[in-house]
Amino acid sequence: MSWTTEDISNYHIFAKEYVSSYSSKIDCADLAIATLVEFSAQKTLPVKLKFYQKGWEWLKFNPKADKASEFKSKAMRMLGALNIIDNTKPIPIGAAKSGDLIMTKWNQSLGHTRIIYSIKHDAKMKKYEVTWYQGNLPPVKPEKRVDYFSNISNVFGEKPRRWNFEQFTD
């Protein structure tokens, strides 16, 4: 029970549909977590998300033993944008796909999560144009935004990020 390259490709496809059709009010980090957990539950794939509480701890989802809705609620309650940063890794903008994330860290406790819907290279402008969906705080129905990547302010590490799928497998 581990994530294959095909699973990751399918996650990217799933995320595009999921975030663009989500119709309830939601926090930005929660939308990213919900996308990951819903796909994992559907494909019977494990998820392990780390968080810091007097030391690093793991929040684990075993699709064969755990109830996806309970894990999703717990993860959404316990984790925020800064935790997502801890569970993702930077990728080059040219490699970014739907379901990858553009993160912001404003201070030690507050950040922001944007979920990439599509990305295209504008050869004329020599820039990447990103379409993303985001929840917010206060929670909103996911909003579609479009801008050049270079125009997005406060991007953490100045690169998009991808879930660290390798850590999900025991």
Partner: protein, 141 residues
Amino acid sequence: MNNLPIKFTVILLILSIFSIGCAKSKSEESAQACVERILHANVVRIDTSNKRFFIASQDITATDIKEKLPQLEECFLSREWNSDWSLSGFTDAKYAGYKDEADIIPYHKDNTWAKAYVFEYDHATNSLVKNPATNPEQILP
């Protein structure tokens, strides 16, 4: 001269004006005015897309919202937002906004926006959260 009919007419006229006035104030009070009356606080911003009133008050707590929910629900009965409305509470009007907005971002430097965001109520899920951006505490459901 018998002026009784005139007096009677005048009284009827006054009563009818009073009656119309009452009917008007009751049926035409907006959801916003109703919420402001019940909470004794100002709605400082309205987000129609997300059916949200931003409330500014130094005093209102999540507990107050919980206690006044039955009255607040009446404000939205038979209104456009009937089953799907939210109240976001901030200590000051200047903080009433979404965390990624340009005029809110400067308040993240010292975390004052997060500290000023004191409650969030969502009627669709009946969810009430105290301090949503600092130390979230689920009051409802």
